[in-house]
Point group: C2
Chain length 351, copies 2
């Protein structure tokens, strides 16, 4: 039955007009008479013409109408992270306004092989610009993205030359929590982060720099290193966060830290789950604070004290920067505000 797909020429021949007229019928209705246009569209309908081929049109137009995004973790993992989802939401908001689409490039495979696969996918991605989201500077995807020679924007990390970056200073932001908890009277602390080099999941820079920023600040306040316990989750998830503080909660009350700083809200919520399970009162016996202010943070009970880093706005800003580069306008990276939101999960230590 159906032989080859009809093209503009096929339609043009049937409608008895030139190929350009058919093209105009789709793209510039004002360039031809209504009568001709209808005749062309009728011919197209008869032939089952699907409309101008988007790929061919993009090639000719030299633009794709798409912005690509590379996320830290493998794509399916990214969707389990409310913080990432919030960034994506911000990006799509801005893209909606611009009438552009979003291309999510997955990380296929795992282990070391992923380097080649990702680079390969990136090479074939039809995009006008790329946004790199919290990638490790050494990630092969970063190099592959740079080779593409399209406008680039990074979120969180890494800072590349000539590439605008959106995000917060992880060390400084984490450091904000220290004086607050110290001021409440806490002297024994725990830090919950994701362990380095976890199989199958790449580490976000924040998993290293946030703990150190927090601890450095504590040190400055006079807290001794031995009074800071570090808990490492096996991955960035609520359940892993819960599991990671199990041992901590099992230590005798006298010795146990009275405040826990989790480097993300996900982990903080996991810690709250663990506390609830172990019968440890939050904030009565243990204060918990996080970073991100994901939607679940405020809805938790007690509501989680955290630092809002405007993830939604970061997503918007990233796309805006990409669009500005495409338009040839000058770009300068915006400052992202961070604000400590004191809620119910933190209080003075017991006694």
């Amino acid at each position: 039955m159906a032989s080859d797909r009809p093209t503009l020429d096929t339609v043009a021949a049937v409608a008895g007009v030139s190929r350009m007229t058919v093209s105009n019928a789709y793209n510039r209705p004002d360039q031809l008479s209504a009568a001709t246009r209808e005749r062309v569209l009728a011919a197209a309908a008869t032939l089952g013409y699907a409309g101008p081929d988007p790929t061919a049109a993009s090639l000719r137009r030299q633009r794709t109408g798409t912005i690509g995004v590379i996320l830290t973790e493998r794509l399916p993992y990214a969707f389990t992270d409310p913080g990432m989802v919030e960034i994506l939401r911000g990006m799509t908001t801005e893209l909606s306004d611009a009438g552009m689409s979003l291309l999510l490039v997955p990380e296929s495979g795992g282990e070391d092989d992923s380097s080649n696969r990702t680079a390969e996918l990136l090479r074939h991605a039809m995009v006008d610009a790329l946004v790199l989201c919290s990638l490790d500077p050494g990630d092969p995807a970063v190099a592959a993205a740079q080779e593409r020679k399209v406008p680039l924007v990074t979120i969180g990390h890494p800072k590349l030359p000539h590439v605008p970056m959106v995000g917060i200073d992880n060390e400084k932001t984490a450091a904000m929590v220290a004086p607050y908890l110290y001021g409440l009277g806490h002297r024994r602390f725990a830090v919950l982060t994701v362990g380095a080099g976890i199989y199958g999941i790449r580490n976000r820079p924040g998993f290293i720099s946030r703990p150190s920023g927090f601890i450095d600040e504590l040190t400055r306040l006079g807290v001794k290193a031995e009074d800071v316990v570090i808990c490492e989750a096996s991955e960035h998830s609520r359940s892993a966060g819960k599991a990671a503080v199990g041992a901590l909660l099992a230590t005798p009350t006298k010795k146990r830290p009275t405040a826990l700083f989790a480097v993300t809200d996900i982990l903080a919520l996991g810690a709250m789950d663990a506390a609830a399970g172990a019968g440890v009162d939050v904030p009565g016996e243990l204060s918990i604070a996080g970073i991100d202010d994901i939607p679940d943070a405020a809805a938790a009970s007690p509501p989680l004290t955290t630092i809002d880093q405007e993830l939604f706005e970061q997503g918007r800003a990233a796309i805006r920067l990409a669009l500005r580069q495409l338009a040839g306008e000058p770009v300068r990276a915006p400052r992202t505000k961070t604000e400590l939101l004191v809620r119910g999960s933190t209080a003075a230590p017991p006694r």
Copy 2:
């Protein structure tokens, strides 16, 4: 400085080889000697060649390596819906394995104008196949998608001729909740759904068919229509769900329904928020059940009784069906399992 972008020809000339050899250097390393390949790549590096243009390559190859997704709601809204996110997660899982990318087509603009805009974007989307997610049959995006003449898959709705559909039977699924609650002893019910024709947000078919499936089943069990109160949220969000049951909770205890069925977990959680705020004990004074089994459902307190409809698997299945069509293999829509998960938010009515 930088004049025109170098192309394959430019590189070929500099490396002293034919254009095809340069192409092969990138795509088929086994088709040329290692020495030549290095020479070519060196020339490319010198020229600042970004690699073969993905759009041109796609045109020639007649495939994009991308599957497009159209979601019910405007894209930014979709990311606030954990159910949608779960479906997306499933889709990306399957796409990762296939080494393909995901294109999210936004709904730009709002109001009626959106019809044209969406169709327009769909027309330019460079994809090998499209997945339509819970769209209303009358949505202009549905027609636009069909005109594209690429393999199609729908999730949830609508059922289109020759298009495989993934999803559950909304009426039957909702009907499963009725005998369970009735069996617990409940006789006065409330249904929480999203009101029809809300501005700026299109309605998913489930918002209509689920309430009717539930109510029909109740009727069959002998419950009178006057003993079923319908609450309509202004949009599909937790807070709107909370607001929508405010009046309900304010009614005198004697008259108040003892069981509430929310057509989605989001709404159910909103109802739980409202109950908590109004001091109504769940499940002591009010049983609440939802549909979806989103991650937050199990984590809620009390954990939410709901129906698992395997959203993650639905996402995977949709992509699998699309890929199978692309491969020219026969497709048949899979059955999605639904299972009532009885948790802590439902119990026998008071007294």
